[in-house]
Structures are given as C-alpha cells and as structure tokens.
C-alpha cells in the first residue's frame, strides 16, 4: 500500500511543479481528443439524425452495421489506420504515421459510431406526439427538425460525453498510430502504460488523476449546461 500512497504524493508534486513530460502528454491528449470529438460529432450527429428520423430501405441493416461498429476494438482500428497511413499504405504519402493527426483520425473512427448510434436511438425515441404538436402549431419541415434536435439535446450531449470518455481513455490507437513518442505523440494513456511498465507508479498515478479530472470537468460542465 505504501507505494500507492507515495505515488499519490509524488503525483501531486509532479502536477504542481509543472513537470514538462507530464503536461506535454496532457496537452497532446486534449488536442487529439478535442479534434476527434469535433470530427465525430460533425459526421456522427447528422448521420445519426438521418438514420433515426427517416425510414428508408436498408435502415435496419445500417443500424446493425453501426451497432457492430460500437464494439470495434481500439487495436483493430489502430491496425487499420496504421495500414492506411504507413509508408506502404494508400495514404502513406501524407506522412500521418506517428503524428497527433493520425491518432485523431483513429479516434474519430472510434467515436463516430458511438455518436451516430446514440443520436439515432435518441431521435428514434422522440415522443411521437412531438411532431404532431409541432405540425399543429404551424411548424414547417425545417422548424420540426431544428426543434426535434433541441428537444433531444440532452440525449445528444450524452452521446458526446460517452464518445469523449471512450476517446479519452483509449490506448490501442494512440500506441499503434502515434508510437508513444515523448514530447510528441505521447498521450496520457500511453504514458500511464509506459510509466507503469517502468515501475514509475507516481507518474502513472499523476497522469491517471489528470485523466479522471478531465472527465470530471467535462461531465460537470454538461451537468451545469443541463440545469441551464
């Protein structure tokens, strides 16, 4: 137990002293996760809305595919992205391997089905009386879509938070695509994995605290927004 307690004390010192390797990893994590979240929300929200709102041929099959993608292992996504952006891959020329952009692409693939599937479920769960009410109040098609989205805003926020949690805590993609390069592509999770392997629990715990704090702040902000 002593080493865990000592780890917490050391973690506090590292964070307060502004240890560069720790804070670089934190910064890299924030950058890639924010970027991948923006991309996945940008693509996943309209896609989820279309799947949830409209009835079309092949909708069930598309939902099944989307739900299957929810279970994609991060190492598989890492492998696939690696294959595409490595020098031998079709996108090798873009020089994305071992970059934060590469990690962001992988994490976007990870978060996209989460945002799309939860958004689709939320939209499908809209009270059937809502549309009837809006029509009876004179809403046009655009008003209906905008109001429906606003009515399920908490469900969509939940989709974003769930996806953010997944992106923030994944290791496989960051490790395989980013390469865990110190001061460059090392993220909080890859750093924790590395420090623990080296027996440096304090650094691992420090980074773990940061990770939990980020998740806590995000949830707290959303909870505040919900109350507003």
């Amino acid at each position: 137990m002593d080493f865990i307690v000592a780890g917490f004390i050391k973690a506090f010192e590292l964070l307060v002293s502004g240890d560069s390797s720790t804070w670089t990893a934190v910064w890299a994590t924030l950058k890639v996760s924010t970027c991948s979240m923006l991309l996945s929300i940008g693509a996943g929200l309209p896609c989820g809305f279309l799947i949830g709102y409209f009835d079309f041929t092949g909708k069930k099959q598309l939902r099944t595919l989307l739900d299957t993608m929810l279970a994609l292992p991060t190492v598989f996504i890492g492998l696939a992205v690696y294959a595409f952006i490595s020098h031998q891959g079709p996108l090798g020329g873009l020089g994305l391997l071992f970059t934060l952009t590469g990690i962001a692409i992988g994490q976007t693939i990870l978060a996209f089905p989460i945002v799309a599937a939860i958004t689709a479920s939320t939209i499908e769960g809209i009270d059937t009386d809502l549309k009837l009410t809006l029509v009876s109040l004179g809403a046009g098609k655009r008003n209906i879509i905008a109001t429906c989205l606003w009515e399920v805003r908490f469900g969509i926020l939940a989709a974003a938070v769930t996806a953010y949690g997944r992106v923030l805590t994944e290791v496989g993609i960051s490790m395989m695509v980013g390469g865990n390069i110190k001061y460059h592509t090392r993220t909080v999770t890859t750093a924790i994995a590395l420090e623990t392997n080296k027996g440096l629990f304090a650094n691992g715990i420090a980074l773990g605290i940061v990770l939990i704090s980020i998740a806590f702040i995000v949830n707290l902000s959303l909870s505040f927004l919900r109350k507003q």
């Binding site: 009386d129 009410t133 004179g138 046009g140 606003w150």
Partner: protein, 342 residues
Amino acid sequence: MTNLEPAYHLKDIRHYYGDKKVLDIDRLKIENGSITGLIGPNGSGKSTLLKLLAFAQKPSMGSILYKGRPELPFSSTVRSRVTLLTQKPYLLKRTVFENIAYGLKIRKEKNNIEKRVKKALLNVGLDYENFAARLWHELSGGEAQRVAMAARLILKPEVLLLDEPVASVDTESARLIREASLNARKLWGTTLVIASHDLQWLYSISDRQLSIFKGNIFSTGIENIITGPFEKQDKKTLIKNLEDGQIITLNLPEQTACTAIIKKKHISIDLEKQPGNGHLNQLSGHIASMLLEKKSETIMATISINDLSLILKLSPEKIRLLNLYPGKKVVLKFHAHDVEWI
C-alpha cells in the same frame, strides 16, 4: 374561393395503417364556424380523422378540400390556420412562455409577444406572473393541458381540432378548456371539431354530431352498434343471443361484414311487447340515462338491455305520453331488415 365554401370537404377518403383500413369516408363536409362533435369508441378512427383534418397526415387515398382548395400537409395555407390539441399534448422542454410563444415565433411574429402570451394564459385561467417562467415539468396535468390550449389559442386559428381535450384533466381545467374553446368560436368564428366521450357536453354545444365506428362516419350522430358473435338461423337471418335469454334477429348481410348498425330512427319505444311478427325485435330493458340535445330539443335516451346499450331519440311529447324516466322498464322495437352492416 368564397366564404360559402365549407371549411372542409372530404372526398373518397380511405386511410390505411399497413393493411388495415382505418378510415372509409365517401363524403364529409364541415361548415365554417360550426361546432362538430365527433363520437365513437376508442380505436374507431376519431384521432386519425382529426390528424387528417389537421393536415398532419396525408390520407392514403382521396382528397381534403380546405375552404374549397385541395390541401396537403405543410402547405402554407393550412399550416398557420388549422391547429390540433390532443388528449396528451407534448409540451416543449422549455418554459411556459416559450411554449405558448412557439407558434408566433415560427411565424416570425414579434410584436407584443408578452402581451399576447399574457392574454392567452388568461384565456385558460392561468396567471402570467405565476406561470410564464415555469418549466414544462413544473405543471400539473390540467395546467399542462391548459398551457397547450393557450399555445393554440394565441394563433387565433380558423379551425381548432380538439381530440379528447378534457379526458385526463381535473374538473376546473376541463371547465376552463371548454370555455376557452367556445370563446374561440365567439371571438374569431373558429370552426371547432371536438372528439370527446363527454356526450352531455358535446350534445349541448355542437351544431352537428358525427358518429364514427371502424372508420365509417354516420352523420346522424351516435348510432347503435351490435357486434358478434352471431348465429345463422336460416338462409336470410342471423341471431344474437343475449345473456338474459332475449334474442335479436337481423337480416343476413349481403357482403362480408361483422358489425351491425341499427340507426336511432329505426328504433321505437313502448311499454309493452306486442304479439306476433317474428322479424320485429322486441327487447325489454331499462332506461339508463336521458340527455337533452339542446339544438334539436330532443332527448337522447340510452336503454340498457342486459349487456347491450341502445340509444334512440325521443320527443318531449313522447316522454310525457309514456311517462318515461331513468330506471323505467321499457320495450324497444326495430325490424330485422333495418340493420346495416359494416
């Protein structure tokens, strides 16, 4: 287009949910500024008809003319003029003020919104100061229904469609909603179509009652429905056995049909059975209720015959002559050939 055109003219309407036909209306007109009562059991097609009249759905077949012009959902003509209030209306996850002002905002009407919301709330007996800032979940069922009503009244609609508007609210809310709907007609000449199980209210306010059963409209108001099982007596007649041993004889339908309609006009009332005539049904029962229909000054009497209730219209003279009152034992008579099948 003239003012003489009815508010609605439905032509050859057939509406299906999947393979199931839920509406079958050849012709129906609803006059401008009238109050139409819509009566029928649950699942008879009342709500579907109101949704079609609200242009929230397109009929599977047929056309709906609004003031002489064929209209479809989302047409700009009807969108801002026809509104529907359902039994459990959806309140937006916003404040009462925003809920009521929603219709104005999407019409881009920005003048005197606060004043108009205040007036709309007052119309349904709610105080602006206490209610405007409340959130949707801070209202009782009756208050929520009144807010929904106010959200529609603020639009000064040409047509107000009410689907069981007071079925699940407290007595005071029901009274205020009823008053507000009648005020709309008085103030703006709004055409009202009201579906309700509250027959007393409907008969006292409506100019006309439409009865709906299995998607079929009967413009003579509520009619008597006899459902199976029936037994085949011979090649031409079916019988229905009542639990108390009485028998109803009905002519066999020409086409496949399973529900018999006996119109009120075909039923007569007496105090004694008369001998003979096997095709004249004579059923003993008790008067369960009597209801005054203000417009025609006739009385709607419901006669309870074992587990069956039959309705007929009676003149005040007939009631005086036979000294009829609720609870009195009577005999209802109608011919087997007066049955209609649907």
